[in-house]
Amino acid sequence: MEEQANSHDRSEAPRPRNRRMWHGVPLERVIGFFLFLCAAVSVLTTIGIVAVLVWEAAQFFGEISFFDFITGTKWTPLFASKHFGVLALVAGTVQTAIGAMIVALPLGLLSAIFMSEYAPNRIRGLVKPVLEVLAGIPTIVYGFFALLFITPLLRDVSGGISVFNGLSASIVMGIMILPMVSSLSEDAMRAVPRSLREGAYALGATKLEVSTQVVIPAALSGIVASFILAMSRAIGETMIVTIAAGQNPNFTLNPLVPIETMTAFIVQVSQGDSPTGTLEFKTIFAVALTLFVFTLFMNLLSQYIVARFREAYE
């Protein structure tokens, strides 16, 4: 019979593919190890970032007092009379990031409410991807738009505004991070069960009351997390502020004058001709470390808020 013939052949059958060897090691284990290495690269990236920043910044702080660095408000590392007060750069970063949030927060949240509570599915399916196009536009394009379109517009309104200013960068950066706020907030709102909305409608609530008194409180952790993530994004954003906000490290919160952010300073040094190994060059690691600590803290905070305050619904 056929089957018997086959069973005889088995002794001469080729070694099953899944036992193949590679230099004496089972192929399966080689592949598993290779895949492990791929996953390890992402962990090594983090270790690499931290190691590079800490190592180089440590050398910088060997020459410059850490205390002066974090408390000083004058930042002139490229001048003959050098000052290393990072607060001048932090002020620029915080100012533009907060400005961006002032734009993105109300617009993003209201857009999210519109999509989650008002828009019929058809409209939502149309609007949401278009809104996400905003998030996909390269930041260099926003920088161009800020400097050459928004800034002249602002200067038409008031002549007292400088060519480089925090306001223009803030507005455009706000538009850039808006989809992040709206998209993540909307996800959080849509996760609020329908039954809660119905419960409120059944008591005679209007859409406004349902949105603001039931849906938003129930989705609050997700909404707050989206704000923090967007803020973190604004803090780390580079090209818009480099192009539109200037390269003048002023310790000020005035949005109408030129300033410099941490990221813009890194670009400035990278573009310049400070040789590697000089103190001027090492400043970028100290600044980058400061920036990294800021954004890491905000990312961890948003993860903590989501994990800690999420209302569990069935």
Binding site: N18, L35, S42, T206, I266, A288
Partner: protein, 292 residues
């Protein structure tokens, strides 16, 4: 038991209705502003740069004269960068995703890797530039080359690729794997022959979207030392390079109106490339959804 007096629930009725309508208008206004901004941005750039976009703009090298300036070297630089970053991050990203989804289970390393990936996605791109400068340009001695730039961008988009590849792999039903194991296939055979083909278009969609993000990245390339004036085409992986966003940045910073138009034209080319890649991703995603 307290007796409740008849109450006047209708008192605030008119005000509440009015507020509700006002709120709706406010929401509508917000979304209109957001979408309007996109429109204004596109129209402005189109008006400013469209007349500059032609074949000689694409095929010329940069020049001191705005009318003769072109983007050939920058565009080629971007293409090479994206090819390098795409291949490296595809292999590493899919490998990591397969490991985390199919091999690691719930062990300690997998948990750490997962948290780590979520945080890496939030690291500012300029910090990746500094990492690339130290590791690829200096320690590995690649210099300020295409390879260093491509590797840097690969690390930058790796977290997004891993996350999207994980989602695509997770979407493959367990029954497919069980079917494979029931036939005596090994783990890798099951993954390679059954799971990955099912997840492939989802993975590819994520890779294309991530790579399109890499095309627009400017800051990390500035940090690792991309050139702003490259009158030659890159001739190998260790060649110095420029990239489209770098060229746009350089032109934007110049005061002459001619260069600003060239910058706008460069942006148009950049956006067309992005649009093309996104369209490709959407087509792939639709094919994926139709199949399942």
């Amino acid at each position: 038991m307290a007796v409740i007096a008849p109450t006047d629930f209708r008192k605030r009725k008119e005000r509440r209705k009015w507020q509700g309508r006002a709120f709706f208008v406010l929401c509508l206004l917000a979304i209109t502003v957001a979408l309007g901004m996109l429109l204004v941005l596109l129209i402005y750039i189109g008006m400013k740069g469209w007349s500059h976009v032609n074949w000689s703009f694409i095929s010329s090298f940069p020049s001191r004269h705005p009318d003769e300036a072109g983007i050939q070297s920058a565009l080629l630089g971007s293409v090479y960068l994206v090819i390098i970053a795409g291949i490296v991050s595809f292999v590493l990203g899919v490998g990591a995703a397969v490991y985390l989804e199919e091999y690691a289970g719930r062990n300690r390393f997998a948990r750490i890797a997962q948290i780590n990936i979520a945080n890496l996605a939030g690291v500012p791109s300029i910090v990746y530039g500094i990492l690339g400068l130290e590791i690829f340009v200096r320690s590995m001695g690649l210099g300020k080359s295409l390879l260093a730039g491509g590797f840097t961008l690969a690390l930058l988009i790796l977290p997004i690729i891993i996350i999207s590849a994980q989602e695509a792999i997770r979407a493959v039903p367990p029954s497919i794997r069980e079917g494979g194991y029931a036939l005596g296939a090994s783990r890798w055979q099951t993954i390679w022959n059954l799971v990955l083909p099912q997840a492939f278009s989802g993975i590819l969609t994520g890779v294309i979207l991530s790579v399109s993000r890499a095309i627009g990245e400017t800051a990390p390339l500035i940090v690792i030392g991309a050139l702003t004036f490259v009158p030659f085409s890159p001739d190998g992986p260790l060649s110095r390079f420029s990239a489209l966003p770098i060229q746009i940045f350089n032109w934007t910073a110049r005061p002459q109106a001619g260069f600003q138009e060239a910058a706008a034209a460069g942006i148009i080319v950049l956006l067309i490339v992005l649009l093309g890649m996104n369209a490709l991703a959407v087509i792939l995603r639709n094919r994926l959804e139709n199949r399942s």
